[in-house]
């Protein structure tokens, strides 16, 4: 397995306080890596380190096979990125902005700019100064700039911010196409899970500068998302039955919500109904639930809070 990005014990501190600590993440070539975390978790800082905008305090970064050092800028030729929010020469037109970028990138293909603008659906505005653009248009132009040089790796920091739902869907489709048709590796950060849930292959969750989890979406779907939800008449007794009779070790009692969630995949609905009936616990309702990534994410977040 080859990796597009690997970080090893990556740490960045400002004034003695670590904003990113010991992050070791692995982004495989060709995949879409969803980088999730609340605002201020350190996503942008990590992405800036990957593009050499800031230097790590400790740890290593390997991007496209090159270990980043103080003056390794050659590898940037193969990367496209949006960091934080898209920045442009406001007085210049969209096209001019891309032209300048292409020249510094050393990329001279003639039609590339028109193609990129068409891909992000920015039509008839290429000669308009960027200062007249809306946030959504700037975001699209930022993506056009990131992809104009046909990079192998795209690092996109909250790329669908400021877009309407249709625009979001459009760009998600574009990302998916880039990944599947052109084999581009994408690292996409977001604080909104729904944005990347459907296209990501791997999810990395970051919280307070630490990588809490890194799993493939397939695994998350298979292992964690399905659970049985039931409401009963007697919660302590139901919990006792689950624990001792069914040997369940992964369930959650939320009495105030009138709910029990059973995550053990070995236990079926049928097992639960039989056990409850045997012990005289009345079941109000019972059904299988598919937890969305959001639920899973929240669960992970709360879990790590408890440990912290």
């Amino acid at each position: 397995m080859t990796y597009a990005i690997r970080t090893h014990q990556l740490t960045k501190g400002y004034r003695g306080k670590d904003v990113v600590s010991n992050v070791s993440m692995n982004v495989k070539r060709g995949e879409i890596y969803g980088f999730l975390g609340p605002n201020g978790a350190g996503k942008t800082t990590i992405m800036k380190m990957m593009t050499s905008l800031i230097k790590p305090t400790a740890g290593d970064i390997e991007v496209l096979g090159t270990r980043l050092q103080a003056n390794s800028h050659e590898v940037l030729k193969r990367i496209g990125c949006i960091i934080e929010y898209p920045i442009f020469y406001d007085k210049l037109s969209a096209r001019k902005n891309l032209e300048i970028y292409c020249e510094y990138m050393g990329y001279y293909k003639k039609d590339a700019i028109s193609e990129a603008l068409a891909l992000v659906n920015l039509k008839n505005v290429e000669d308009v100064p960027v200062k007249e653009f809306s946030l959504g248009m700037k975001q699209r132009l930022g993506i056009a700039r990131a992809i104009v040089t046909k990079p192998e790796l795209l690092i996109l920091d909250e790329p669908v911010n400021g877009l309407d739902p249709i625009g979001m869907q459009e760009l998600r489709d574009l990302f998916y196409k880039l990944s599947r048709q052109y084999g581009v590796t994408l690292l996409i950060s977001s604080h909104i899970l729904g944005e990347i849930e459907h296209i990501a292959d791997t999810i990395g969750i970051i919280r307070e500068g630490r990588l809490v989890e890194e799993t493939s979406m397939a695994e998350i779907r298979g292992n964690h998302t399905e659970h049985i939800e039931l409401s009963v008449s007697d919660y302590p007794k139901a919990a006792y039955v689950l624990e001792h009779e069914l040997q369940a070790n992964n369930f959650q009692v939320k009495e105030e919500e009138d709910l029990i969630n059973v995550y053990d995949s070995a236990i079926s609905q049928n097992d639960i109904i039989l056990a409850m009936v045997r012990n005289g616990v009345e079941i109000g309702k019972i059904n299988n639930k598919n937890l969305s990534l959001e639920g899973y994410f929240m669960q992970r977040m709360e879990g790590s809070k408890k440990h912290a």
């Binding site: 800036k48 593009t51 050499s52 905008l53 800031i54 230097k55 003056n71 800028h73 050659e74 590898v75 940037l76 030729k77 990367i79 990125c81 960091i83 920045i87 442009f88 020469y89 406001d90 300048i100 970028y101 020249e103 510094y104 990138m105 050393g106 700039r145």
Partner: protein, 230 residues
């Protein structure tokens, strides 16, 4: 490096620069013509062709050092302030070379504009003086050629001096600080230090020293920006 300089120049608006150059020269020429209004007052500070020469030089220095601060603001300070520099930093160019290219372009341009301006103004004023007798003494053109070495040295010094405002401008990426500091530098070097009109600029060592300081400041500012996190 040359390629980066070419890219910088491509982004500059040479029409604006040309117009500004002409306006600055027109302004200085206007001041020179005023000298002819009351020759008695003029005689108190300017009494020879050498002194006229020095006067033209100082005016050109003032004009183009201040103009260089405008270029520094547009091409360096503004890029840092609006963060567009970070876009360039994510392209495969060395930060050091990128910033050096900007500084060298500004420095070279200041050098050229200064020299062209001094030669142009001296020639025009010399001709006008011959025809209309603006001053009571003649201002022969061969003085210009005799001073070539001095002018070249001054030109290099001015190219360095023009970079001093970077030090103040880059502290908070402030355009006003850049331009104000350039005006202050001019005010200091051109102020008279005694009654016969001698000023700091007339000792060649002063502009040369300031020029060296300017180049050192540019180097210092660049090395700092190269290491900075964005």
């Amino acid at each position: 490096m040359l390629n980066l300089m070419r890219l910088e120049m491509k982004r500059m608006n040479f029409l604006t620069i040309g117009v500004t150059f002409l306006l600055i020269n027109a302004g200085i020429l206007g001041i020179l013509l005023l000298l002819g209004i009351d020759t008695e007052i003029t005689a108190e500070s300017i009494a020879s062709a050498d002194e006229i020469m020095m006067f033209i030089e100082i005016m050109a220095v003032a004009g183009f050092v201040i103009y260089a601060s405008v270029l520094l603001s547009n091409m360096i300070i503004e890029e840092f302030k609006s963060k567009t520099i970070t876009v360039l930093f994510t392209t495969p160019v060395s930060r050091k070379q990128l910033l050096m290219a900007k500084v060298i372009v500004i420095s070279l341009l200041t050098f050229v504009l200064f020299l062209v301006s001094v030669y142009l103004l001296s020639t025009i004023f010399s001709l006008l003086n011959n025809v209309y007798g603006i001053l009571w003494f003649s201002f022969p053109l061969n003085l210009l050629w005799e001073n070539t070495v001095h002018l070249l040295v001054t030109g290099v010094a001015v190219a360095g001096m023009a970079l001093i405002p970077l030090l103040f401008g880059m502290i908070k990426y402030s355009v006003p600080a850049t331009i104000t500091s350039s005006i202050l530098i001019i005010a200091i070097v051109s102020s008279s230090i005694n009654s016969d009109g001698t000023n700091l600029f007339s000792f060649t060592a002063v502009p040369v020293a300031l020029g060296i300081v300017g180049f050192i400041i540019a180097y210092f500012v660049i090395s700092k920006a190269v290491k900075k996190d964005f």
